[in-house]
Symmetry: C2
Subunit: 340 residues, 2 copies
Amino acid sequence: MAGARREGRPAVIGDVARLAGVSPQTVSRVMNERPNVREETRRRVLEAIRQLDYRPNLMARGLVRRQAHTIGVISFDSVLFGPASTLLGIGRAARAAGYGVTIVTPEGFDRGSIIDAMSDLTSHTVAGVITVFPSQQAATNALFNLPAGLPAVAVEAAPDESVPTVRIDQAEGVRMAVEHLLRLGHSTVWHVSGPRERMDAQARIEAWRSTLEQAGRPTPQVVAGDWSAESGYQAGLELGERQGVTAVFAANDHMALGLLRAFHELGVRVPEDVSVVGFDDIPEAGYLIPPLTTVRPDHGEVGRRSVEVLLRLLDGQDVEDVPYVVPTLVRRASTAAAPN
Amino acid sequence: MAGARREGRPAVIGDVARLAGVSPQTVSRVMNERPNVREETRRRVLEAIRQLDYRPNLMARGLVRRQAHTIGVISFDSVLFGPASTLLGIGRAARAAGYGVTIVTPEGFDRGSIIDAMSDLTSHTVAGVITVFPSQQAATNALFNLPAGLPAVAVEAAPDESVPTVRIDQAEGVRMAVEHLLRLGHSTVWHVSGPRERMDAQARIEAWRSTLEQAGRPTPQVVAGDWSAESGYQAGLELGERQGVTAVFAANDHMALGLLRAFHELGVRVPEDVSVVGFDDIPEAGYLIPPLTTVRPDHGEVGRRSVEVLLRLLDGQDVEDVPYVVPTLVRRASTAAAPN
DNA sequence: GCCAGGTTTGGCAACGTTAACAACTCGGCT
DNA sequence: AGCCGAGTTGTTAACGTTGCCAAACCTGGC
């Protein structure tokens, strides 16, 4: 019978055309919501589409239109709360704009694993790329190995000014945390940092230092951690024994959590003896012992905004400065006035 | 000059062919590592590829070969540790097998948002689909709306036996947790559950109940939570006031964390007065106060295995039963002998 | 020097869609 | 009646790749 779908195979545009008694071109017009199709014709086509359960082949469409319908994302640490939230924001915003999202997670920061991970992104399958990397080296490896002309946006770390970058305003977040502690009467604030090669860790160290300097306070030695609760715990064992430590700013909540535990073991009371502030506002932050005062960056907003910038790039516009995403300070019970 | 790349556009196979002085067909053979290409010819082609930075167009390739190079994943709660780890496992395994991964996260469990989220997966862009859903309803909505003939694998929740399903052995994990507590001398174990409409929550409730029954112990009323630390906290306030509660099994670590905090507030000591066991082994579990005894499911393995099963399906094999992924019990300091 | 059999290479068509253009329809106007 | 133009529809070719088949090229044996 005319218009029957070919055996076993999914329907294609020609099948729909035959069933509706029009040309493939007209079906294409209906699919793409172009004007100048008689209402009656449109109805017939739509009905045929429904009957055959026709779904346009995006690969064929991408081929003629010379454009992909997907955004590529290269992300590290995608299991962590922050990056995972950013990824979710990217996914939602991309889909709203009609793009799919392909996510790759390289094994390491080195050039080899990053190029390896990117291999399918570079094969004309993505319209543009967003990197979500905490390290400048990784971002450089990724962005300098992209095919020429492929639009890219960096989240957090970028090799230089040539790539539009969406960032959390680390400096502002840290300033809020440190000033909060100073206002509570602490004479200075110690810092447990993330790994120094990470951009965000570095940015937080610098913001912490400069806030203290501007307030005319001494800047203690940085205690280096690696984002993990374990490293926060080790830092806590060290700081808890030390004289005169009354306020600690940890570069993320996981380390703050380790700190809390170390202080608890040592009999150092939080917040009576020492105040602690974290960074991230992980979902459990409010239920730690004690509930953690922390800086909340809006990772979802970072994701949304990076898509927005990429779309502008795809549209041929050029993008100058992207405003920073400003975090907020969430005050809970882990901070209190300095002991005297 | 011969072999020059056409202005501005990325090189295509014809450009490479011209530069190497061979036909496009031969370039294709080299790209796909087919036999019967003279070594000298292969070298010339590879050199041309390098010179032009040629990358094959996967959309064109997919079109002729009638197959996609991507695996579609529909996931819920992708920010949580468990699903995020599964996603990572899927991504790595897929890439190792030469597939990209497209992830979509619907807004809700209802049919509308799921179909909506799936729309691009259904347009011939994916070779197969993996669902990562904690609810049977969601899995049903997804899997019954897939185009006919598209291979699919379910993680955790599936509508029925028709779709191969990769699961954590919830029952075994729960049994380990509950028996651990019983062996410590507790007369029974209370349970703070996840939301009942979630398959995994339901499975844990049932396993908890049957383990107690098999041991001939009374089964207390389930305290219902919703996975969040807040709900664990509320449950803790309730259980902490109750007489005779000496052991609690929380259906996930976040709720266990809330429990710990509530008990702390109430002056109930863990593990001296009450033992607590969680489920998930989130990265911070070992640094809570006290470090949490918990069940560790290998989410990454679940992801890897689901890809493996999907690949078998794509290969035309049919898959009978997929063995459960068995979790392990991680003993830490939140459990101890029952008080007398 | 010739032929059989294998290896290497090229030509053509097809995958499913859309862009560009051509052609047709229809009502209104000269 | 003939013509115009807006609105609607169809035709042709192209996107970049690979499957299929045929052609050209070797190699060694007689």
